[in-house]
């Protein structure tokens, strides 16, 4: 890493000299520097009830600064990051023993209409990301940027070819694997106009694409002859015909035994299909996703979220409300099949149900099951009765069939209505089935939840508003067998699975006052009033004051906060569990 500093310093010096000495013909010839900054600091009070331990440093903080210089077709940038030490909830490798900081990202790029060259760090995605996506989610501590080189060519309009090579970032270093890949994206409509008038009618748009990714990692395993080069490929197509659209991508991964798949030698496959219909006032989307053994990393020993090469998001709705973040589904990379349906509808303004300002209704249904597998050696899979996992090297599965075990299901409706110029409401109901044994920890059974959410926004004066949110989650915890049947003991009474610190019913309330465009003051409480352990019937009460000026946000908070996505102060971001003071400063310039 230290070898980087001289090169960065010289690049910046060169840029600085260029800026200083460039003739002042016009302002934009000098190029410009832009960037952003964020600092989050948190004090910690030991709180055994929420699992917050004493933190010897008392205060912890994460921060970063991005600087981008651009001039015409050229741009270059760096990012400085610091973890002093990392805020709880982040992987301890960020802060290491005594806190870490440094320049973790630097690149130079030249781009014109025909091609783009990047060296240094970069992010990229092929298709839907089934075999490759390098990205960052700073608030979650995710960053698997590639350090290497990337070339994009657009030889004729409609055709884009991408090639890249490099290593992946993990914390303050790069992983051991070398990544090589390429992608072709072809828009038939734009492409065909290069040669003839038009191949396709204007209301039919067709695009096709394909990608290839390969990783190399030396085999140092004394027992197994593990593949050193592992290749994956994907092919995709999208068709848009008027109001209809259909997207599909299929991906295949060669044998890739790894820690994450239990040294399994099976090949991996994934299919993603999405169909939608939309016209003014109505939108419908249906998606299907199936995957088998698709965990793909540039290091076969990596775990958790480290060094992932592909992106396999959950095929479930990402809700807008706080209590919905209690039981979030997470994709089971080793095998699952899921579907989702979303309907968005608005009643027209002026109609009976639309009223003067319109009414919007959103419906959602999603369901995810495991794949049924047949194992070549005796195998017991995760169940509430038996938590032994006995991974074997080969198995067979039925890829496109919903298996016996249900991992997740939910159905929901949300209605949003503006009643007058000053008053608006949102109401929602969701019913969820969350297989905690599969998604989080074996033995914890299934959570069946009924959720009600409501939100009232009243604005007054020219720029003030009050926002009230009331939410409730009613949860039942049950133990189930492999078929999903609830288990009972010999007397017929339901068996209660293991329960963790958060269980039972929750009530949530938030009140926020805003004075646009500058001030937000909010207080919210989450109350686990029905926890099976009376000592855990806790209030998570916290308050925030936020000051905004253009793109500078300074936020102060105090209280006990449950980890999850938090939307206060007019922005949404993921937060870890904490108890204490917090300060956050974010700026774009």
């Amino acid at each position: 890493m230290n070898r980087l500093y001289p090169s960065i310093a010289f690049t910046l010096l060169a840029v600085g000299i260029l800026l200083f000495h460039a003739p002042e013909t016009s302002a934009q010839d000098l190029g410009g520097i832009s960037g952003n900054f964020q600092l989050d600091a948190q004090t910690y009070k030991a709180d055994s009830l929420i699992g917050a331990l004493a933190v010897p440093e008392k205060v912890r903080s994460n921060g970063f600064l991005n600087l981008t210089y651009s001039k015409g077709n050229f741009s270059a940038g760096i990012r400085y990051e610091m973890y002093m030490k990392e805020i709880l909830g982040f992987d301890p490798k960020w802060g290491g023993e005594n806190g870490q900081s440094g320049i973790t990202y630097r690149y130079a790029k030249y781009a014109n209409e025909d091609y783009e060259l990047t060296v240094g760090n970069f992010y990229e995605q092929f298709g839907n990301g089934l075999i490759f996506r390098s990205y960052e989610e700073r608030g979650l501590g995710l960053d698997n940027a590639i350090d290497g080189a990337k070339v994009k060519l657009t030889p004729v309009p409609g055709l884009q070819i991408t090639g890249l090579v490099g290593k992946q970032r993990t914390f303050f270093t790069t992983g051991p694997g070398i990544v090589r890949g390429g992608d072709i994206d072809l828009g038939l409509n734009e492409f065909s106009t290069n040669f003839m008038n038009s191949l396709l009618p204007s209301n039919l748009q067709v695009r096709i694409g394909g990608s290839l990714l390969s990783k190399y990692q030396a085999n140092d395993d004394p027992t197994y002859n593990l593949p050193e080069n592992v290749m994956a490929w994907a092919a995709r197509m999208s068709i848009i015909a008027g109001e209809f659209s259909l997207n599909g991508e299929y991906a295949h991964k060669c044998a890739d035994p790894s820690a994450a798949n239990g040294l399994n030698f099976n090949e991996g496959k994934a299919l993603f299909v999405s169909a939608s219909f939309s016209t003014r006032g109505l939108g419908i989307n249906l998606s299907l996703k199936a995957l088998d053994n698709m965990d793909f990393r540039s290091d076969r020993n990596a775990q958790l979220t480290n060094l992932t090469l592909n992106y396999l998001p959950a095929i479930t709705k990402q809700y807008l409300y706080r209590v919905n973040t209690l039981y979030p589904y997470a994709t089971q990379n080793n095998g699952e099949i899921g579907m989702q349906a979303d309907i968005f509808y608005s009643f027209e303004k002026g109609s009976f149900l639309g009223g003067q300002y319109g009414t919007t209704v959103t419906l959602n249904y999603s369901r995810v099951h495991g794949l049924d597998t047949v194992h070549n050696i005796p195998f017991t899979h995760i169940s509430d009765q038996d938590t032994t996992i006995n991974n074997d090297m080969f198995y067979s599965s039925e890829f496109l069939k919903f298996g016996k075990r249900k991992y997740f299901e939910d159905i929901g409706i949300e209605i949003s209505k503006q009643w007058t110029k000053h008053f608006k409401t949102n109401f929602g109901y969701m019913n969820q089935y969350f297989n905690k044994s599969v998604v989080q920890t074996p033995g914890y059974g299934v959570v069946k939840a009924n959720i009600f959410v409501s939100e009232f926004i009243y604005s007054f004066g020219s720029n003030q508003a009050l926002r009230l949110e009331l939410q409730h989650l009613g949860a039942k915890h049950v133990a189930v067998d492999d078929e999903g049947n609830e288990l009972t003991d010999s007397s017929g009474a339901a068996i209660v699975p293991q329960l963790d610190g958060n269980n039972g019913n929750w009530a949530y309330g938030l009140l926020e006052y805003t004075f646009a465009p500058t001030w937000f003051v909010s207080v919210f409480d989450e109350y686990n009033y029905d926890n099976s352990d009376p000592d855990h019937r806790l209030h998570y009460l916290s308050g925030n004051v936020i000051w905004v000026k253009d793109a500078l946000i300074i936020s102060l908070g105090y209280g006990r906060v449950r980890g999850g996505i938090l939307c206060v102060g007019g922005v949404c971001r993921p937060v870890p569990a904490s108890n204490g003071f917090s300060i956050s400063i974010s700026s774009t310039f």
Binding site: L13, N36, G281, T514
Partner: protein
């Protein structure tokens, strides 16, 4: 590192030096986004025939973003008539929700020009930390105003800014 630090500081100091003239505004950086037909569009081509362009970064999972865009949609007709402003809504939804964006905006009856920034290329180029984040671009393609977060009533002040920019005046709000 110690040897290099003074050099780094010098470099940064030199780089940030600018002759004292009128405040310089940065241009919209070039990045690739997709339109709802899946075509690749370069953001440096965002233009509106000499009139202002309002760009908002949003996501289908972001409540304040939806509040903001709904508020804008209610007044968009009036804003267009008075200033000719064009609103561009850049969705940062990734592969999880990207295929829902078109049904979502149609279902909401929003009239904005919508682009997908699935892997955050444009978001990074514009230095966006959190959504919603909006930018106002003048007739020369320069970013003349930006705002992060949404509170009900923000749109009233924003409209004052849009009127100034449409009239070619400096932004004072």
């Amino acid at each position: 590192m110690k040897r290099i630090l003074p050099l780094l500081i010098l470099a940064l100091a030199t780089a940030s030096f600018r002759p004292a003239d009128e405040p310089k505004k940065s241009l919209v950086p070039a990045a690739n986004v997709k339109n709802l037909k899946g075509e690749i569009v370069n953001t440096s081509a965002f233009a509106n025939d000499g009139k202002p362009v309002l760009v908002s970064f949003w996501a289908t999972w972001c409540k304040p973003c939806i509040q903001e865009l709904s508020a804008w949609n209610n007044v968009y007709e009036d804003w267009k008539k008075e200033t000719g402003v064009k609103i561009i809504a850049v969705s940062i939804d990734d592969a999880r929700n990207a295929s829902k964006v078109a049904p979502f905006i149609n279902g909401k009856r929003w009239d904005f020009e919508v682009y997908l920034d699935e892997n955050g290329e444009f978001k990074r180029a514009m230095n966006v930390n959190a959504v919603p984040h909006s930018f106002l671009i003048d007739k020369d393609g320069k970013i003349v105003w930006m705002h992060n977060s949404y509170a009900p009533g923000d749109e009233d002040k924003l409209f004052e800014v849009i009127k100034q920019v449409a009239a070619g005046q400096p932004v004072t709000h």
